[in-house]
Symmetry: C2
Amino acid sequence: MSRSSSDVAVLAHSGGPTPVINASLLGAVEEARLQREIAGFYGARFGISGILKDDFIDLFAQPTELLERVAQCPASALGSSRHEVTREDLTRVLHVFRARGVRYFFYTGGNGSMGTAMQLQEEGERQGFSLQIIGIPKTIDNDLLMTDHAPGYASTARFFAHAVRDIGADNASLPNQVEVIEVLGRNAGWLAASTTLAKTEPDDPPHLVYFPEARLPLDKLLDEVSCVFHRLGRCVVVVCEGQLDENGEPFGAEVRPGSRGSLAQNLGQRLALLISTRLQIRARSEKPGLLGRATSAYISKPDWDESRLCGRAAVQAAVAGYSGVMITLLRNSGPEYSVELGHAPLEKVAFAERLFPREWIKSDSTGVLPAFLDYATPLIGPIERQAELILNPPKETVD
Amino acid sequence: MSRSSSDVAVLAHSGGPTPVINASLLGAVEEARLQREIAGFYGARFGISGILKDDFIDLFAQPTELLERVAQCPASALGSSRHEVTREDLTRVLHVFRARGVRYFFYTGGNGSMGTAMQLQEEGERQGFSLQIIGIPKTIDNDLLMTDHAPGYASTARFFAHAVRDIGADNASLPNQVEVIEVLGRNAGWLAASTTLAKTEPDDPPHLVYFPEARLPLDKLLDEVSCVFHRLGRCVVVVCEGQLDENGEPFGAEVRPGSRGSLAQNLGQRLALLISTRLQIRARSEKPGLLGRATSAYISKPDWDESRLCGRAAVQAAVAGYSGVMITLLRNSGPEYSVELGHAPLEKVAFAERLFPREWIKSDSTGVLPAFLDYATPLIGPIERQAELILNPPKETVD
């Protein structure tokens, strides 16, 4: 197709990958191929770091069949970065963009990345550089404002819901043990909440779910675990990596050297140790950790589809003249789940976290209220209960 | 079908579940239904503990369709147990069996369980009780002697190989970090070895794989991690939960209270902490833990099929008059993978561990020799490499 302009587009990934981040990339490239305004489309290698180093790949040169296969794979196909952007970096980015003839910039990330995009927009305007910047939402944490949910959340949520179901079934078949399952999520409990989709019967796992939005006194945790364990002979506890105790500390867990704040490295393990020493109950912990965002086995179809649509919508918005906005997902009302795409100003999403709604949390730590299940089930899907034998005893008896 | 006898069979699970343990149960029930010698078939609830409490379910009363669905699910459908069997327990088991008219006992487990089966056999013979005992092999650790491999290993191995591939891809897309992945395996490195199936190109993860069969000096680990990290800017390390250092200690990790020996609870985390503090490299750890044996998403088809066949073969062997043996898998020679089923005396497998062959381990800690891949690939399957973009830069350059 002949191009009507020499304008170039750049797309970069930022922060942690999601299982569907490459579906947004596919959508953006598909759409850009249709737009005569976009003469070239470059992917930055390793996020903003790649832009700073003028390290790009040619996205229009990728075979469609390859892009489609890449879109099925988690981990960022372009490479991503957690580089903290300085004012000098912004100037360098604009310099590279100018030299490359870049007019459109697509930045796939969470609320911090949207903040960077906003700063770049402001710096570009200050320099009189006509650059259109569109944010593509992406976060497993689901903590972006202005969107019903964020691409990436539902697939990681689906992983953790299955993990809790499966480890819970293992725990039920070999009981007399407490299982602490550490899920991703530093400040927001959306992923922890999703594990309640594993629950069909009242005594199904998870038995206790804690939300990092509230501090958790250790004694409360121990009391609640003890209560479940003595009733059922087993207990599955879901806790976020970012959970803090009544003192705002991670229960004495080890804090990552150099980490911002007090994110623990071994919170689940620390809690299992406290449960086993204080309650004299056998306890262990599992930390699937990054596997929750890195595996393709539990990709949610709506999540993948929406991630791709967000990529397409970002290109459409840019060509239509929008700038300084992030693509959003707006849920339609009605009994059937459907979404429309919209956009929100970057300043409304930058550096802000959407926490899990307190009014959806059960006060007894056993999970969430139906409002969350109504919200989450169309995204994550129902989690099928495992088949179980019929427990009829044989007829004969023995003394 | 009319039964020619009143003899009853009992099947019990022992120890940790596997992803395919219920396929053996399906196979045993399918075969028992064909055998007129077996009038009733009971499943013990929670292993030997269920026998001691006379707590059984009627396996012939299970609908075939339900059994087939159950056979697709990990976790023990009957419930399992780690109860350490005493001499008094053996007497009680024989008492219950006599009262129930039990003539056939199928015990699904690993080498410790085969030891229990052997002791029960001896006690039965001492009491002149005509009880036929057949062991059904089951262990994710693959440490049973006399069998080419054990049902359960390949599926858990397949999980961990994918986990290393996927976490490795995440690590490659967001580098400057060391990832320590803790895999199951206390004394034997079969699962650790399986993660090397994720490697297609020389620099694919895992970059370093350690085997618990050899002590690992901390300095050697740090040197090797440093070397890989400074060459690639990333490093994926696979370590077994049972790895010990040069002093026979778990590197200062926390040891499970009440655990036999020195099995650490947080070995991967401990090593990540040592790497980050000693080498000043960002490091984290993931511990999928029991998820490796509890998820159905990575069940190996040959593993499932063979597990079912072992259940069938156990019933056939019992009816044919065998006792005091464990079913074994014997690999045929030739280019196409195939197995035949056999049996080995319980005393040849009881309480003995088959460690990973030292001659299959590369001396530089980077993995295994092709002999292992020849052994493992037919069981676990090739692990598909994730699709990657073509790294062509765009034509223009910038200063």
